[in-house]
């Protein structure tokens, strides 16, 4: 056996996790490290390889740990909203929504119906944009270069819609406690109608390229199948669980923000392998489009943000002629509103799975503790189970089929 030079020995803490063949040098221990084209961000995998076959795969996360939960404890409820945009940077509005729902549940603030409908439209648009980035990078990893360019062309249209109503492309912070930041501009409706009329044709183009493409099928069918029980035991949710056949979607089981008014169906598949996750996500984009169309048709009028001045700062126009507005404005923007003692757990359906926000209030204006239960964290935890025994080329397909976002994992 080749002797290992001293300093390149396997690090101490990894030894118990690897098989003894690694220590004798028979299998290769390799870093598929933080800077790698197919790890979708800064994920490091310590692979123990027997030739191309993976014996052991140990994920090592934390390379994008930003201490967001600690930082949010130092900001008021409204100002901490800015942090939620940056945890899962492909699902900014979904994070905002989860955090705002938690605040509204904690302080019992009700949201006017128009704001709920706008929130549903924006979150579903964000879901389509996130699935487009997933499809683009998933196809790019499996060598379908053109699909990447198509998907980002569609995504630019959605980003223009976000920019139209919130001024920013990605970090919109458009959903605020009590409703949304501004009302939808008039140009939004025609632009959205044009987009929602045009997207199904594009999706058919992608499906024409990929769904029956023998290269695509060889790389994705039968790779890392997972059944419903082990998926649930591993904490997999969202498209990963639905691909295994469990129609568990929080928008249907625990409707929030007015989701029960719209009818859409939950796409599921049966064997839970990479191909089924692809099919489920492609169907989900179409269902999101259906929701957007229904929400856009009967968009209720009225307030776009609750007028409960204890928690929601008054619009600038009111400041001119009402003393209470000035007082509320001053109080809310300097000190922020106070939340009662107690803890609240709210979960919504993010494009990757169940996104939960555990909010603890201590009577003061600062959130005492905010914890995000993120779906990518559970997805990457299941990676060793999914990746055991397959080839490196399959590992690339599995990672991108889990659609991990490392900001979501490391917070």
């Amino acid at each position: 056996m080749t002797a290992f030079p001293a300093e390149d020995q396997i690090p101490e803490e990894l030894r118990p996790l690897l098989s003894e063949r690694a220590l004798t040098g028979e299998t290769i221990v390799l870093n598929m490290g933080p800077q790698h084209p197919s790890t979708h961000g800064v994920l490091r995998l310590i692979l123990e390889l027997d030739g191309e076959r993976i014996i052991n795969c140990i994920p090592d996360i934390g390379f994008l740990h930003t201490g967001i939960e600690k930082n949010m404890e130092a900001k008021t409820y409204e100002k901490a909203l800015v942090m939620t945009d940056r945890t899962d940077y492909l699902n900014n509005l979904g994070n905002n929504l989860t955090y705002c729902l938690a605040i509204e549940k904690l302080v019992e603030l009700d949201v006017p119906p128009r704001a709920q409908a706008i929130r549903v439209i924006m979150v579903e648009l964000q879901r389509i944009a996130s699935h487009l980035v997933w499809l683009g990078t998933h196809a790019l990893d499996l060598a379908a270069q053109s699909v990447f360019l198509y998907c980002f062309r569609e995504r630019e249209v959605i980003l223009d819609l976000f920019e139209l109503c919130s001024g920013a492309r990605m970090m919109t912070s458009y959903i605020r406690p009590g409703g949304v930041w501004r009302d939808l501009p008039e140009e939004f409706e025609p632009a959205l109608k044009a987009f929602s009329k045009d997207l199904p044709r594009r999706l058919d183009q992608y499906e024409a390229i990929l769904t029956k493409n023998p290269l695509w099928l060889d790389r994705t069918v039968g790779i890392s199948p997972i059944d419903a029980e082990t998926a649930l035991a591993q904490g997999l949710t969202g498209p990963l669980l639905r691909a295994a056949g469990v129609p568990f979607d929080l928008r249907r089981t625990q409707p929030y923000s007015g989701y029960d008014q719209y009818d859409f169906d939950i796409p599921t598949a049966d064997s839970g392998d990479v191909y089924d996750r692809y099919i489920v996500r492609m169907q989900e984009m179409r269902q999101s489009l259906r929701i957007i169309d229904q929400a856009m048709e009967d968009l209720p009028g009225g307030l776009f943000r609750s007028d409960n001045r204890k928690f929601v700062p008054p619009p600038r126009s009111e400041l001119g002629h009402s003393m209470e507005a000035v007082i509320h404005h001053f109080k809310l923007w300097t000190e922020g509103f106070r939340a009662p003692h107690g803890s609240v757990f709210v979960a919504t359906e993010s494009p990757r799975g169940v996104l939960g926000c555990y909010l603890v209030g201590d009577g003061g204006p600062y959130p005492y503790r905010v914890h995000f239960r993120t779906p990518s964290f559970a997805a990457l935890q299941a990676l060793p189970l999914l990746a055991k025994g397959c080839l490196i080329a399959d590992l690339v397909a599995i990672i991108s089929s889990l659609d991990p976002v490392l900001g979501d994992t490391d917070r």
């Binding site: 904490g235 803890s343 609240v344 757990f345 239960r373 299941a382």
Partner: protein, 173 residues
């Protein structure tokens, strides 16, 4: 809601004095237990056929620094068939915080417990891989504790730019 009452009644009947109290806040039922009873309670709730809490939605901790039972480890269980959430809370003392692991019941608790160890310093007895998960492995201290400083760096404005610039460790070539 029959399921939640059924669950709390089952846990109180089985665990007896280990159950500290049952609270409902904003429509969420939370049972707080003694530290050593958590793995038994969780096994009960999952294996009971009609309760069937088969999904561990969340596992995290909260640091109430000055108060004595300093940490509070919070669990959220979800039953897919009954579509209902149940919260569990375990107060843990500040000196030598320790808790039995529930990894045998819910495999996905592995990383959650590693994160709670990394961020709060609460060690889980019987955990298969008690390493740090988010911070570098040679990091001292547990960042999410209330007595851990935020690590705030003074912001450079024009008036204090120069003296901060001298102290800032710029990378040479």
């Amino acid at each position: 809601m029959g399921i939640l009452e059924q669950a709390t009644e089952l846990v109180t009947r089985e665990m007896g004095d280990d159950v500290l109290d049952v609270t409902t806040f904003r429509g969420e039922t939370t049972i707080s237990l003694k530290p050593m009873a958590i793995s038994m309670a969780v096994k009960l709730l999952r294996d009971d056929p009609d309760l069937n809490f088969n999904f561990l939605a969340m596992l995290t901790a909260v640091d109430y620094f000055p108060q004595e039972p300093r940490f509070l480890v919070a669990y959220q269980l979800y039953s897919l068939s009954n579509n209902v959430y149940l919260g569990l809370q375990v107060p843990v003392s500040g000196k030598g915080p320790e808790l039995p692991t529930i990894e045998s019941v819910y495999p996905n608790a592995n990383w959650h417990e590693r994160e709670v160890w990394d961020m709060f310093g609460i060690s889980f007895v019987g955990h298969t891989d008690p390493r740090r998960i988010l911070m570098p492995h040679d990091w001292e201290g547990h960042p999410l504790r209330k007595d851990y400083p935020l690590g705030y760096e003074e912001v450079q404005f024009s008036f204090n730019f120069d003296e901060i610039d001298k102290r800032k460790p710029y990378a040479k070539e």
